[in-house]
């Protein structure tokens, strides 16, 4: 395990580089195949609306996978992630057009912990609204 960020170089409040991740219907079909989650709310507009959703929504686990990239890109070594948790508070609605939706992720160091680890709190939004709550990772730095 070899994180490229030094524990001594970060402090509470240190911001991680923010990123924006696009998600289209094609992305969701690809994610469904790779993850094995074929729930039709993620690809079938008719079904999604029948169960009361505004439109097709992204897999919560897709959003979770994107959000942690802000952390893994920051430290370089994805194996440096010790803990990662989220609450799915609001769906990412993905319209059937060329644009799709975007997931905006920012993060900052919220606490310095033992054993060269830090807690990073992530802010994850789509269409101006927070989509994940309690989105936190503990990561081991060098």
């Amino acid at each position: 395990m070899t994180a490229k960020v030094q524990y001594a170089d970060v402090e509470v409040g240190t911001e991680l580089p923010a990123q924006t991740f696009p998600v289209t219907r094609a992305t969701l079909v690809q994610y469904a195949g790779a993850s094995g989650d074929f729930n039709p709310i993620h690809w079938n507009e008719k079904f999604a609306k029948e169960v009361g959703l505004p439109d097709v929504i992204a897999h919560g686990m897709f959003t979770m996978a994107e959000a942690i990239r802000v952390v893994t890109d920051w430290v370089g070594d994805p194996g440096a992630v010790v803990e990662y948790g989220v609450r799915f508070t609001r769906p990412v609605v993905v319209p059937n057009d060329d644009q799709g939706a975007t997931i905006e992720v920012s993060g900052k160091v919220a606490a310095k912990l033992d054993d060269d680890t830090v807690r990073v709190d992530l802010l994850v939004k789509s269409a101006g609204q927070k989509v994940l709550g309690m989105s936190r990772a503990v990561v081991r730095l060098a």
Partner: protein
Amino acid sequence: MPLDQSFVGRTYPPTDPYEVGREKIREFAEAVGDTNPAYTDPEAAKALGYADVIAPPTFVFSITFKAAGQVVEDPQLGLDYSRVVHGDQKFAYTRPVRAGDRLAITSTIETIKSMAGHDVLTVRGEVHDEAGEHVVTAWTKLVARGEDEEA
């Protein structure tokens, strides 16, 4: 009808091993658009100290959630899966999942709560490798919406 509290603490038999393949990891990394070379290039993974390519942090969910199917589909528990949404997800890692791992999952019902007419069920999936060493634990909170909420 609320879920039976006596199921709290129930542990299900470990799954048959899931063998993690390099190409499955690649497929997953491509699907989430993550180009970190540790997921696809064994040399890059070795440079970080891993024997083979590693998987993105959330990759293991596909395996633990399938294992949680034993719980979700337990007829004695009687969870109505058509009403279930994924509430929370958490992972605690001892080490990253890597290609070549043969992973067995042991699922346990950690908590059952009834909140505002919803059943809230937390399933803990302990992931061990072939040597019996702990790799990661996944906690999946499922919320079964109450019947009276039907529009």
